[in-house]
């Protein structure tokens, strides 16, 4: 793609004691595209996400934001740049209602007092534009279904108007219909011009919404695929390492030429 990627990772490495969790990892995310990050357990997906989100800063490598090199050392840095992360455990407060959860840590105030009316209104607008259906914005999150909780968590990440959203296994614990709801929401994020990094184990989900697919294997890149020009089989063999030589070399060569 011609325009500058909103987020670029180059040669990211991270070592935990004796384990080289990431070595020379590259990734590009453009505005308005969904990049799926796939790989087997322990391939380094979580480590890569934590490096972007500022939870575990990388040992080596360059992170560029809209073409400028930046350093992300704390979760706060990532948030300030405009990177929002929705973790698998969602981190919602069950005892608080939907509005309180959406604005947690970013409450709107009026004369120093919580402005419930404005938060209520903005919550409804946000949920409407994302076509999220929940019973009421004033019930505790505990009473929502798994899919609804996931959509609330994603909606919460949008309150800060980010440019890149990272979704960690958003459909892992969901049923068929709820998964469809979340995937619809992922498409709406793309329509809003956000760059989305989707981490998933589920090839059907990945093929349904992703524009590009980055495969990881043993802490390294193992190929980038364009959704339109690939098949599930090809990706699965990249994940398992069955095509170690062919795909990786070809992709690596192509990317060298692009630079």
């Amino acid at each position: 793609m011609p325009e500058t990627p909103v987020l670029t990772l180059r040669g990211i490495s991270k070592r935990f004691g004796a384990v080289q969790a990431l070595s020379g990892f590259d990734l590009e995310v453009h505005s308005g595209e969904v990049v799926a990050l796939v790989g087997d357990n322990g391939a380094g997906k979580s480590t890569a996400v934590k490096a972007i989100a500022g939870v575990n800063p990388p040992d080596e490598g360059v992170i560029e934001w809209e073409g400028r090199p930046v350093s992300i050392n704390r979760p706060h840095d990532a948030q300030n740049l405009g990177i929002a992360t929705v973790y698998q455990d969602l981190a919602l407060c069950d005892n608080l209602d939907v509005v309180a959860n959406l604005f947690l840590g970013r409450e709107l105030r009026r004369f120093g007092v919580l402005d419930e009316v404005r938060m209520d209104k903005r919550s409804r607008q946000l949920l409407d534009t994302l076509s999220i259906r929940i019973p009421s914005v004033r019930i505790p999150v505990a009473s929502l279904s798994g899919g609804q909780r996931q959509t609330v968590a994603i909606a919460r990440s949008l309150i800060g108007e980010p440019k890149v959203v990272i979704l960690d296994e958003p459909t892992a614990a969901l049923g068929v219909e709820q998964t469809a709801e979340v995937l619809d929401l992922v498409e709406r994020l793309r329509d809003r011009g956000l760059g989305t990094i989707l981490i998933s184990h589920n090839m059907v989900d990945v093929m349904a919404v992703a524009d590009r697919i980055a495969v990881m294997r043993l802490g390294r890149n193992n190929g980038f695929f364009d959704k339109r020009a690939t098949t599930t089989e090809e990706i699965i063999s990249a994940i398992t390492g069955a095509t170690e030589s062919a795909v990786t070399r070809r992709q690596a060569r192509k990317r060298e030429e692009e630079r």
Binding site: L90, D94, N95, L104, L114, P135, I139, P140, A142, V204
Partner: protein
């Protein structure tokens, strides 16, 4: 861009019917009082009991003791009761804050005794200015809370162990402060005695207080409804606001009437009520209060939202310490002395019982400062009733213990029902 999505390609565009379509399962409040009643029934079924059990408990206790001995419901006894519950209630407010985090503070009894002793020794024995001594005592409570909070939040020692150690240590410090004197009598003209015993004899005082309270509630409710209506978000219908106001007015003016039948409005009760209104506002309407609930609900969620969990924990323990000091001062004013037994006995059990009986959950994240008032009223009523009937301490302890257990059972059962109804 290709939008081929394979098997679930049916929902290609953001489904246009998704927004307006009304899902029949959604909870839509019906208009007017009927909607209010259905909502109330739904809440009861799903285990959101709120303060209903404790209100029923007060009614039962008052009916039982009132029928056994008519002096229990006399204006004099109820007026005295309203004064006696203030000390316990103040300490229980601090416990409510700690319980909202899902933690416990076992030191508040000792801390209340320590701070009362601090005041007595500084003011009565060493002649320090009484306001300054009062301030030092309150600051002492806050400092103790800060120490607890530090070991809990920064070092990572479980709160119940920190405060259990504190319970013993602060009791020791109190004995040290009192020294050889053992008991320090607080003169009747001291500010601490006056805080407890001052009574506004004019009937107008109680009625004006009731009227101001009800008026503020009505005005705040109406203003909120108007802003909500203007912003086109759901608002309370006027009928519901009027109904709530009428209930509150009935309780407030009945209380004022009973107080005026005897001597009038006690200053201690007025201070307690103002404190409850202020702290309720802090918990429900400020960012700080919202953060306390968030930490009580999901620590990791709160941390990811950028809330400083250690800060919240330390300040909440400071609130508990300060409220323990304030309660201790009122208890000292009640008996007009600070002695080696101050803050001992079953005070700790009573304040924890008061907070839990009032409806604040032991599991964190659910509760209100008003439960301190309601719970202290239950505990105080039982004690007062049994004192009138001449029941021995032994039996009193057993009954109070049973009531605490009953309250925790109600809390646990309602939590289970809430889980079953998908609300916890």
């Amino acid at each position: 861009m290709s939008r081929d999505r394979g098997p679930d390609a049916s929902a290609q565009e953001p489904a246009p019917d998704a927004v307006p379509a009304v899902d029949t399962r959604l909870l839509v409040r019906e208009e007017g009082l009927k909607g209010y009643l259905t909502e109330f029934r739904r809440k009861m079924r799903s285990g959101e009991l709120g303060s209903l059990p404790v209100v029923i408990a007060v009614i039962i206790i008052w009916t039982v003791f009132g029928s056994l001995d008519s002096t229990f419901l006399s204006a004099q006894n109820l007026s005295d009761l309203s004064q006696q519950i203030v000390g316990t209630g103040m300490i229980a407010v601090g416990i409510v804050f700690v319980l909202l985090l899902g933690e416990i503070d076992l030191s508040v009894g000792s801390v209340s005794g320590l701070c009362a002793a601090l005041f007595a020794v500084l003011n009565v024995l060493n002649g320090m200015n009484e306001w300054l001594a009062l301030l030092v005592a309150l600051a002492g409570g806050a400092a103790v809370g800060l120490i607890h909070g530090f070991f809990f939040a920064k070092v990572g020692v479980p709160a119940f162990v920190v405060t259990l150690a504190g319970n013993l240590a602060w009791n020791g410090l109190m004995l040290q402060v009192l020294g050889t004197s053992g008991t320090v009598n607080i003169p009747g003209e001291s500010i601490v005695s006056k805080l407890y015993s001052t009574i506004f004899h004019s009937p107008a005082a109680a009625y004006v207080t009731a009227a101001v309270g009800v008026g503020l509630f009505l005005a705040a409710s109406l203003l909120d409804a108007r802003r909500r209506r203007a912003a086109r978000v759901p608002f309370r219908p006027v009928a519901e606001i009027v109904l709530r106001t009428v209930v509150i007015a009935a309780i407030a003016f009945a209380a004022a009437y009973i107080l005026n039948q005897y001597r009038g409005l006690p200053l201690a009760l007025l201070i307690f009520l103002i404190l409850l209104v202020v702290l309720d506002f802090v918990l429900r309407r400020t960012t700080y209060g919202r953060q306390i609930f968030a930490v009580g609900g999901n620590i990791e969620g709160a941390r990811r939202a950028g809330i400083s969990v250690p800060f919240i924990r330390m300040t909440v323990f400071m609130v508990a310490g300060t409220m323990a000091a304030a309660g201790g001062i009122f208890l000292a004013g009640q008996i007009q002395s600070a002695s080696q037994t101050s803050g001992g006995g079953n005070l700790l059990m009573n304040v924890i019982a008061a907070a839990v009986i009032g409806g604040t959950s032991l599991f964190g994240g659910r509760g209100s400062v008003w439960s301190a008032l309601l719970g202290a009223l239950v505990i105080g009523s039982i004690q007062s009733g049994m004192n009138i009937m001449g029941v021995s301490n032994a039996v009193q302890f057993m009954i109070t213990g049973s009531v605490l257990l009953a309250a925790v059972v109600v809390d646990s059962l309602s939590r289970r029902t809430q889980k079953a109804a998908g609300r916890a």
